[in-house]
C-alpha cells in the first residue's frame, strides 16, 4: 500500500505517496526528477548513489525513501549555491577528478561529507575516507588531488574569515 513521505530535498519540501519498497535513490530520480544521483550496483558497494541525509553521507540505494521521511536530503544538484560551484565540485573540475562522470556525483557527495567531518587532512585520510566509492576511470589519484584542492580552498576561506 502506498504511504505518504515528506522530506526536504535540496531545501525544497517534497511530499509524495509512494510504495514503501521504493529505494531513496529511485525516489529522488523518478519522483523528484533529480537524475544526478546514479545507480551503480544496488548493493551499497559502489557509492555512485551517495547523497547527504541530515548532513551525513548515505548510499541512497541502501535505504527506502520512507526511511528518510522527515529528513533533509542534499543531492548533487543542490550542492552549488547561487550558481557558484561547491569547492569540491571546483576541485574535481580543476584537477581532472572525473572522466566518464558516472561515479562523480556520489564521489563528490562523499568528499563533501569527508571535508565536513574534518577527515580529509592527508592523502591517506582522503583515500581511506573514499573507500566506499568506486571509480573505474581515473585511478583515484586525481580524485584525491581534487579533494585536497577543496580542503585547501576551505582552509583559505577560514583564514580569510
Amino acid at each position: 500500500m502506498p504511504i505518504p513521505v515528506r522530506l526536504r530535498v535540496n531545501n525544497t519540501p517534497r511530499e509524495h505517496t509512494i510504495e514503501p519498497r521504493v529505494l531513496l535513490v529511485h525516489y529522488l530520480r523518478d519522483h523528484c526528477n533529480l537524475t544526478g544521483t546514479h545507480v551503480g550496483c544496488e548493493t551499497g558497494i559502489c557509492g555512485a548513489c551517495t547523497v547527504l541525509v541530515d548532513g551525513k553521507a548515505v548510499k541512497s540505494c541502501t535505504v527506502f525513501a520512507v526511511q528518510a521521511d522527515g529528513s533533509d536530503v542534499t543531492t548533487i544538484e543542490g550542492l552549488a549555491t547561487n550558481g557558484h560551484l561547491h569547492p569540491v565540485q571546483q576541485g574535481f573540475w580543476d584537477r581532472h577528478g572525473l572522466q566518464c562522470g558516472y561515479c562523480t556525483p556520489g564521489m563528490i557527495m562523499a568528499s563533501v561529507h569527508l571535508l565536513a567531518t574534518g577527515a580529509a587532512g592527508s592523502r591517506e585520510a582522503i583515500a581511506e575516507g573514499l573507500r566506499g566509492n568506486l571509480c573505474r576511470c581515473t585511478g583515484y589519484s586525481h580524485i584525491i588531488d581534487a579533494v585536497q584542492n577543496a580542503q585547501q580552498a576551505a582552509n583559505a576561506e577560514v583564514a580569510r574569515a
Partner: protein, 780 residues
C-alpha cells in the same frame, strides 16, 4: 584576439565537466519519454540446461505488465547477434537474442517482461516459471579440447571454435636447433570483468508514421550499431538513429552489439511505445563481456649470453559460450604483438579458441596487447634469471635502435617510430633505479620482502588501416565555420570519458586561430555525426583528430579563395594567421573569420564557381597503426605474515607522441594503471565447476579502491608518429598494457629470496601467503 599560446599541449580543464559535476548530464537511465515502458530480463541460473517449459501466465496477470516474451516469440524478429571478426573456418553457434530451447551460460537471457514501472517489470520476471533440465557443463578450456568431453554446443560437435597459426621471421626450427637453452614457461591471463560503473542500458522509441527508430544506448559504438542493427531488426540504416548520450565508462565492455539492443528496439516497435532496459550490476557481471582468459605455453630459444633466437607459443583462449562482436579476434591480437619491443627473429604462434559455458570474452582495455606484454615481459625476467644476465641489459640488447624505424617485426607489423632506449633511460632516472636496488639489498638483509619490477612495452593504437580492420578503420569528421564565426566540430568517434570535447576543440581552435570558447564538439548521435567508426583501440585522437585536421585544411583553403576575392588578389597572396586573412603588400585590410564566414553564407559577393558556406567533411584512412611505447617501474613491499602486497613506488614513462592535453593523458595513464593493479593484485572472474558465476557483484569482484593506489610518478618522452599530421599515437590503453608485468615482476622480485619464481595472477594476499608458507616450510 585569441590567446596566442597554442592550445595544443596545454593541460586544460575539460569543457565536459560542468554538466557532470552538477549532476545534469544525461545518461541513458536519465531519459524521460512520455509513455515509457520498462523491460526486465529473466536470466538463466544454470550454465547449461534444456528449457523444458516456460510459464508466463502469472507474470502476465500482474497489473501494469504490458507483455512477457520468450525466445520463440521474439527471436525470429531480432536476428542474430553479430560477430565481425573474420576468422577462417570459425565454427559458430547461432546467437539468438533470447535463449530458444537451451541456455548456455549463467546469465543467458531467457525471457523479457515489459511493464509500466521498473519495479513491476521486476515483479513480473520473478513470477515467470521455468523448468530447466541441467546438462553437463564445460568450464575448463584445457579439458574442453580433449576428445570425449562434454560439449558446450552439442550441435557444433566440438568445443574448438577455431585454430589459428602464424609463423613469422626466420625459420623457427632452425632457431631452436641453434639454441644453447630452451626455456619453457606457462602463463595464465585470468578472466576479468570490465565493470564500468554505469551498467549497460538502452531506450528505443519507434515513430510508426515515419517508420523511424531511435535507439539510445550506453555504447562506445553508435555508428557500428547503426551499421549492424538493421540486419537484426529489419529497420533500414537510413531510418535508424543511434544516440550514445553520456556513457558511464566502457573499457571495451560497450564495444559490442548486444542482444538487448535489438530486443528493446523490437519491443518498442511491437508495443508501439518507447521501452527502456537498464542492466543491473548482477546482469552486468554475468551478461556483459568479460576480458582476457588466455592460457599460454611458451618455449624460448636462447643463446648463453641471453640472445633470444625465437619464441613458440601455444595459447588456449576461453571464448565463453558465444562470439560477441570481436570475441575470436582478441586472442589473435595477442599474437600480433608477442615480440613486444624486441628484435626476436623467429616466432611461431598457435591459438586455439574454445567454447565453454561462460559469458563471452571480448575486447577489454588493451585487448590482446596486455596479454602479449605480460607474456613477453614476464619471459624477459625469466630469461634474465635463468641465463644470469641483467634484466635491463637483456631488454636493451634486444631493442631496435631509434634509427631502425620503421621497424618490421617477426609478427608481421611495422612499428612506425620509437625510441625505447630513451623511455627506459628516463624511467630509470625518475625511479632512481640504482637507489631502489640498494633499498632492496638493505630490505633483504633485514629480512623484508622488497621487490623492484620493470616492464617495457609497445602497443598497437590508432585502429586502424581498413585493410586490417573488420569493418573499416577510417574516421569521419565535419567542421563548420558558422555564419557567426563560431565553429562546430562533429566527430565520428564516440568519447565516453576520454575528453575529446576538449581536446578536439584545442586542435580546432589552434588550427583555425579562434578562441577555444568559440568551438563546440558534437558526437555520439548518428543524426548529427552521420558517419563514424567510434571509440576503441586508442583511435580517437590519432584517427578521429586527423579527420578534423583534414576538414580544417579544406575550410582554410576555401576561405583563402574567398578572402582573395574580397581582398582583390589571388589566393597565393593571401596569408592566414591567428584567425585573420590578409594580403600584406597588396592591402592593409584584414578579414577576420566572422566577416569572411558572413560573406560565405550571405553569398552576395562570391568568386565565380564558389559554393556558398564554409563546411567540410573528411574521411581519414590511416596508412598504418601507431605504436606508442614506454617503460614502467614498480617497487613493492610484501608482508611476510599476511601476503599483502603494498605498492611503494610507481613510475611510468609513456610515449604517445605529442600530447594534445597533458592533463587528459595523465588521467588515461593513471586510470589504466589502476586496472592493472586490480588485475595483478585482486581481480578475477570466477566460475565454479558447475559454471556458476561466483563474482557476480562488486561484493565478490574486488576492484581497486582509492586506498589501494600509490602516488604515481609520471614522465614522458615524445616520439611523433609519421602516420598522421598531428604525430599523435594514442594513450587510452597504455597504462593497462605497460603496468601489469611491471607490478607482477616486482612481486616476484620481492619473493625471489624465498625461491618463488612464479605465481599466477591475481597475486592476492592468500595466494602470496600460501606461496610464502609453502616455501618457508620447505626450507625449515
Amino acid at each position: 584576439m585569441p590567446d596566442q599560446t597554442p592550445y595544443i599541449g596545454r593541460a586544460m580543464k575539460r569543457v565536459e565537466d560542468p554538466r557532470l559535476i552538477k549532476g545534469i548530464g544525461t545518461y541513458v537511465d536519465d531519459l524521460r519519454l512520455p509513455g515509457l515502458l520498462h523491460a526486465c530480463i529473466l536470466r538463466s541460473p544454470y550454465a547449461h540446461a534444456r528449457i523444458q517449459r516456460i510459464d508466463t501466465t502469472a507474470a502476465k496477470a500482474i497489473p501494469g505488465v504490458v507483455g512477457v516474451f520468450t525466445g520463440p516469440e521474439v527471436n525470429d524478429s531480432c536476428g542474430l547477434v553479430p560477430c565481425a571478426a573474420a576468422i577462417p573456418d570459425l565454427k559458430a553457434p547461432k546467437h539468438t537474442v533470447l535463449a530458444s530451447d537451451r541456455v548456455y551460460f549463467v546469465g543467458h537471457a531467457v525471457a523479457v517482461a515489459v511493464a509500466s514501472d521498473p519495479y513491476i517489470a521486476r515483479d513480473a520476471i520473478d513470477a515467470i516459471d521455468v523448468d530447466y533440465d541441467p546438462l553437463p557443463v564445460v568450464v575448463n578450456p584445457e579439458e574442453a579440447v580433449k576428445e570425449g568431453t562434454p560439449l558446450t554446443h552439442p550441435d557444433l560437435g566440438t568445443n574448438v571454435a577455431f585454430t589459428h597459426s602464424v609463423a613469422g621471421g626466420s625459420n623457427i626450427d632452425d632457431a631452436f636447433k641453434r639454441a644453447d637453452r630452451v626455456i619453457k614457461h606457462r602463463l595464465y591471463h585470468q578472466r576479468l570483468t570490465p565493470m564500468p560503473i554505469e551498467p549497460r542500458g538502452a531506450v528505443a522509441s519507434y515513430h510508426a508514421g515515419e517508420g523511424t527508430l531511435t535507439l539510445w544506448s550506453s555504447t562506445q559504438i553508435p555508428h557500428l550499431l547503426r551499421t549492424l542493427l538493421p540486419g537484426m531488426i529489419g529497420v533500414a540504416e537510413n531510418k535508424l538513429r543511434i544516440v550514445a548520450p553520456e556513457v558511464g565508462g566502457g573499457f571495451g565492455a560497450k564495444l559490442n552489439v548486444y542482444a538487448e539492443e535489438a530486443l528493446v528496439s523490437h519491443l518498442a516497435m511491437r508495443l508501439n511505445a518507447p521501452v527502456k532496459w537498464i542492466e543491473s550490476r548482477r546482469e552486468n557481471a554475468a551478461s556483459t563481456i568479460h576480458g582476457r582468459d588466455q592460457i599460454g605455453e611458451y618455449e624460448i630459444a636462447v643463446k648463453n649470453d641471453g640472445t633470444i633466437l625465437g619464441i613458440k607459443s601455444r595459447t588456449i583462449a576461453d571464448l565463453g559460450a558465444y562470439n560477441q562482436l570481436l570475441t575470436p579476434m582478441v586472442p589473435t591480437l595477442t599474437g600480433l604483438v608477442l615480440t613486444g619491443c624486441y628484435r626476436i627473429p623467429a616466432v611461431k604462434i598457435d591459438i586455439v579458441g574454445v567454447y565453454t559455458n561462460k559469458m563471452s570474452t571480448d575486447a577489454y582495455r588493451g585487448a590482446g596487447r596486455p596479454e602479449a606484454t605480460y607474456l613477453i615481459e614476464r619471459l624477459m625476467d625469466v630469461i634474465a634469471r635463468e641465463m644470469g644476465v641483467d634484466r635491463l641489459e637483456l631488454r636493451l640488447k634486444h631493442f631496435p635502435a631509434p634509427t631502425e624505424f620503421p621497424f618490421a617485426t617477426s609478427c608481421g607489423l611495422t612499428y612506425d617510430s620509437g625510441n625505447y632506449q630513451g623511455a627506459l633511460t628516463k624511467a630509470k632516472q625518475l625511479a632512481g633505479w640504482d637507489q631502489l636496488l640498494k633499498e632492496r639489498a638493505a630490505a633483504r638483509a633485514a629480512g623484508r620482502l622488497f621487490g623492484v619490477g620493470v616492464s617495457t612495452y609497445v602497443e598497437i593504437c590508432a585502429m586502424g588501416p581498413s585493410a586490417a580492420m573488420p569493418a573499416g578503420g577510417w574516421e569521419w569528421g565535419c567542421v563548420r565555420m558558422e555564419i557567426s564565426g563560431k565553429v562546430t566540430v562533429i566527430t565520428g568517434v564516440s568519447p565516453h570519458g576520454q575528453g575529446q570535447e576538449t581536446s578536439f576543440a584545442q586542435i580546432a581552435a589552434d588550427r583555425l586561430g579562434v578562441p577555444i570558447e568559440d568551438v563546440v564538439v558534437l558526437h555520439g548521435d548518428t543524426n548529427v555525426a552521420h558517419y563514424g567508426r567510434d571509440t576503441y583501440g586508442s583511435r580517437g585522437t590519432a584517427v578521429g583528430g586527423t579527420a578534423i585536421v583534414m576538414c580544417i585544411d579544406k575550410i582554410v583553403a576555401k576561405a583563402k579563395a574567398l578572402a582573395a576575392h574580397l581582398l582583390e588578389t589571388t589566393a597565393d597572396h593571401v596569408e592566414f594567421a591567428n584567425g585573420t586573412f590578409s594580403s600584406p603588400g597588396v592591402t592593409n585590410r584584414e578579414i577576420p573569420w566572422a566577416e569572411l564566414a558572413g560573406a560565405a553564407y550571405i553569398a552576395k559577393s562570391l568568386p565565380a564557381g564558389f559554393e556558398p558556406g564554409l563546411e567540410a567533411s573528411s574521411f581519414f584512412e590511416p596508412s598504418n597503426f601507431t605504436f606508442p611505447f614506454g617503460t614502467h617501474i614498480c617497487a613493492v613491499d610484501v608482508d611476510r605474515d599476511t601476503g599483502h602486497v603494498a605498492i611503494k613506488k610507481y613510475i611510468a614513462v609513456d610515449d604517445c607522441g605529442p600530447q594534445i592535453n597533458p592533463l587528459l593523458v595523465e588521467g588515461q595513464v593513471q586510470g589504466g594503471i589502476a586496472h592493472s593493479i586490480g588485475q595483478v593484485l585482486f581481480e578475477q572472474t570466477v566460475y565454479d565447476e558447475n559454471g556458476q558465476l561466483l563474482t557476480g557483484e562488486f561484493m565478490d569482484y574486488a576492484m581497486p579502491r582509492a586506498s589501494d593506489i600509490p602516488e604515481y610518478v609520471l614522465g614522458h618522452t615524445v616520439t611523433p608518429s609519421p602516420v598522421n599530421p598531428l604525430g599523435v599515437k594514442g594513450v587510452g590503453e597504455a597504462g593497462t598494457i605497460g603496468s601489469t608485468p611491471a607490478i607482477a615482476n616486482a612481486v616476484l622480485d620481492a619473493l625471489e629470496p624465498l625461491g618463488i619464481t612464479h605465481l599466477d595472477l591475481p597475486m592476492t594476499p592468500e595466494r602470496v601467503w600460501q606461496a610464502i608458507k609453502t616455501r618457508t616450510a620447505a626450507t625449515v
